[in-house]
Symmetry: D3
Subunit: 250 residues, 6 copies
């Protein structure tokens, strides 16, 4: 039994509040336990220099935390004058994950900007960001369809992410909150599609190691957690979701 009463293979309560903000083309407030992230998607009608004239689109992401998303106040990266390594790592991960399910040619020469701003952190902010960002992106992209600006819906499949880990006692657990994450010997973030394929798998021993068997068990645990998240995404995206993964002519 865990601190908050969950069993090892249980995820935290999840809510995804759609259209949380009035300005962005797509936005959600995702809550995973006490972790809360505002995810927005912005459509920009141009692409970075390396894609100009290619006919291809791009998806990129930025991630940040409010100073008091955390127990101790964290200094703003704007005050420090630079974006830290952890932030860079996370925002690169979010962008890469989104691109794995987007048909960039079908998107056309436009950029989807994903912004994930953690307003309250309690572990799993990067995976909550991915799960929420996918919904925000889907809403934003669906507005392009309704404006007939796309020939084909460019999102190929659902996408969600969760963390799994090994405690110091060797127990494998799903969806770690902050105290669990801080104490974990092994920490793994998994990003998967609706079809159950991997997009990203990042397992890290924190001054510790893990065996092949543990790797397999962790991955299985993550899989079950992600299926539940995708179920929630399907509900939230009821209207939009039917277009995801639709083949041409369907």
């Amino acid at each position: 039994m865990r601190q908050d009463g969950r069993t090892a293979d249980m995820g935290r309560p999840v809510t995804i509040e759609r259209d949380y903000l009035i300005h962005p083309e797509g936005s959600v407030l995702i809550s995973v336990g006490n972790t809360k992230v505002i995810c927005t998607a912005t459509i920009e009608e141009r692409v970075p220099p390396f894609l100009r004239g290619s006919g291809q689109g791009w998806v990129t992401a930025e991630y940040s935390m409010l100073p008091r998303a955390t127990g101790q106040r964290t200094q703003r990266e704007s005050s420090r004058g630079k974006v830290g390594g952890r932030t860079m790592e996370i925002q690169r991960l979010i962008g890469r994950a989104m691109r794995a399910v987007v048909d960039l040619e079908a998107l056309g020469e436009r950029t989807v900007w994903i912004d994930c701003d953690v307003i309250q952190a309690d572990g799993g902010t990067r995976t909550a960001s991915i799960t929420g960002a996918f919904v925000a992106m889907s809403i934003a992209v669906s507005k392009l369809t309704s404006k007939k600006e796309l020939k084909k819906f460019p999102i190929r499949d659902y996408l969600a992410a969760i963390s799994v880990g090994k405690t110091e006692e060797g127990v494998l657990i799903l969806d770690l909150d902050y105290p669990e994450d801080s104490a974990a010997a092994v920490d793994m973030n998994v990003v998967m599609t609706g079809a159950g394929e991997f997009v990203e798998l990042q397992g890290t021993g924190e001054e510790a190691t893990f065996t092949r068997q543990e790797m397999n068990d962790l991955v299985e645990l993550a899989e079950s957690g992600i299926q539940r998240l995708i179920g929630i995404q399907r509900e939230v995206l009821a209207d939009v979701g039917t277009q995801i993964g639709r083949k041409e002519g369907e």
Copy 2:
């Protein structure tokens, strides 16, 4: 009659949601019409170098906007690697305003960090920040009292802020939303105390000027708006508020 149905002297609907986040010592989500700001207050048990050993405390503030708080996406200041002039101006204003009602000696050698993060912007983000930050600060400081760490409650009076302006047609209006603010000929931000005294008065002609009579009428309009805001603060701070401005021995 204004775009949203208000008369010239009417403020927008205001709500202040207390204890919005779990981690900070004080936090609110303030909404003024569509403008929404998360204000938090953090108590740090030390002061900047210039006050060390002085027995005095300090109050300082930081302000930021999420990239999609605005209609067009705004680039993050952390990505640009520096804090812009507008942000600096606003955060200096917030800090100065708070300090005007705080007895820094009574606070003792500790710093109150105010963080105002605009999650949705529709005009008046700096004045909403001040009005919300005052509540967050009061909650945070009251926790020090309940821990018996203060001899005297260091907040001397209520404090709130509002904007007033002159339209291009010369009409004086209260609490400008974003379209009104963009079009205004004159824009004035007023910060006042519960006792009705000024803390800050910033009137600016935007490629325009204003007369002494207009100055007086604008100030009067602001005064009425601020009294209403302080009424709302009093309700939200019901338990804590009785300590504000209390003299020693009371």
Copy 3:
């Protein structure tokens, strides 16, 4: 009676040395008591991106202090790698003030760069900068007229600035020097036009507040000080000044 023998409503000696430097299109050395600022105006034949193709011009300002303009050496902002909040606030104020009296359409698609470099500081550097910059700008713009590059003289009115304040003893005083400014309870900067209208009014209680009556008295004091400064500007700009505010056809 004040430290330097002035009465409360007396300004400091002011001199404006025209054409102080050989390179800029307009330049002055303004001295207000011991405060000395080199103000230059540069005409650039292009505008910032947001105005390209608009037919409109722009006026922008930068402000800096030599390290030993002050009693203690101040670290250079170039060495610190960033421009501080106070500098940003002042340079934004100077630019905004100039734009209030410039007809940007009449200026055409060009930028006036104002540079104010304080070589000696003794209080009131921002107001001295505005008063001096107006003269430098007028000279620079007049050279465009003489080259027949303008249809209409784009400066609509004179413009000057002064500070007023309330001492800790509650006396209202004009044109504060540095020791007075450091000790003042309330500090107000006022920018006005030749026609006696306000362009900018920034009153700030320094851990203090002020009443409506004090506001009115301070503004009145400022008004008299500014009229004197504009008188001096008129003399210095003898030849150029006749074009200021001239209507078409005059």
Copy 4:
């Protein structure tokens, strides 16, 4: 058959030149095919602030590429004024990987600085850096032992890293060179210990996904490649290596 004649499960030629530089406590030049990295280890007799007084040591890493390590000249990060996201990700990975096999308490309050400078890049620079850095670190740490500054040898096990990937045609390959890496659908970096346990596993679909079966096959491929690398490390570290992983009393 691959471009350079290797079969899918074959690694590139590897050499590790020990004591490549005269100044550092430990240094190697590692070549993996055409990828060449100078890895150095520096012992500093102090730790970062968060560890002061803890009795624990620390291992941290920095990574960089010469501008012409690559086919096209890459701009220096010092000229751009900031360290990019890719660099940060890699140097965090290297540091974390080293720490997984170091007993930080046995190291005592000192820091091992790892520097990996790529002088020629042809794919796999981060894995070559880890493999080389481990050797440099072992040499540097062994000098502490010979000076009797350590009670116990703080390196618990060998450590090496390799990349594996899936080509666009779906073939799984070991130790990708740059053209293979650029074209790969899936790219996985694996860091393992001499005991065959995982320290880090980072699998990424580049606008593509991978199945659980593929994950398992890739991991197996990596395992064989890493065993070979550790064999080479053992030879290079002949004298020093006997201390690695030695239990107290051995």
Copy 5:
């Protein structure tokens, strides 16, 4: 005959206005033709970390140009967020030159900060800075003597600098103004002491070269120019100068 009527071996008119500013311990305005530099010297009662506890002092310099010191407006280094290569080169040169005539032990553990701010540039700003900075430093240091804070006057000799060059036509000229400097094939800056010894010699072919004979002739030309400058320094420093180079017991 040169543009401004000088012969090849003639320097420009030089004036050094002492005590130009009220705040610094030492200050001058030096004019060399149209080149005008404000030089100040600040005494700080501490030294950089590498000298703490050594009993030795330090002299360091910073150099800057006002944006309109030049014909075209130069962007401020504070706005660009970094100090350029040319500035760094010049301020390192100024500091090194001063240190060559200062007995750092006699100075004691204090730092002399030299600030050279070019308000008008017409060639030779670095050499004018050195010549002026020497005077400012001497005044500042003499105040320490009068306060009895020094056992021995720490300035060993006079110091001044001048530029010489070779025109495209092969003529060797003294004290180049800006048009001459821009067109010169060879440019040499020479810093010498009152005793006629070299402190710094920097000869540079600008896409050109120079022979040994030319080197000797240039150096001789510089020598005569520097003697004249030191003569002017002696006059300006009448009272202070008697201490320069005085042996103990004198």
Copy 6:
């Protein structure tokens, strides 16, 4: 006799390994005693803005040291976020030296980027960089000739550099290693062409001065050292070198 057995007028062993890297158009590893520098030359088919459309080319240089090129680890300039003054001074020197022997018109509108990365430092890194960079540049430029992209070979003469100095005992020595350089009273860097003309002469008294006679003797010493270096360059550049300095029609 010096520490390493050399007489005062003896240079250190020099080797220049050509085509050290596979990617750059020109590259060498130059060793001068224990000083080792990787020099590369990159041809970019465009020029900086100030030369666009001029028909002229450009040569520019960057210089850096690996953190452990030195006895103590040096912090990376990328981590500090800015390039230091010493680095700037050196890279400006290298660029300027190269340009002195390049006919920029014959080069055409392209840029030669020189990168000098010191992998091991033992004094004389800037002069070794120049000597090595000249070879790398010659190789890179000769590839343009063989591609018939040039009408005329744009390198006019050989170019090499060496340091000379005066010890504290007053002995003049050639090619200082790091301990000699640190202790020297006077330090002079000399850059010369194959024809024996000066390109750059930088003599600096380190808290010391030098006489005219010493200047002459130092220069003579440098001359002999440079002739030897150019002899080595001629051998290394056997095939390419015949084009250097060839007149049209030859």
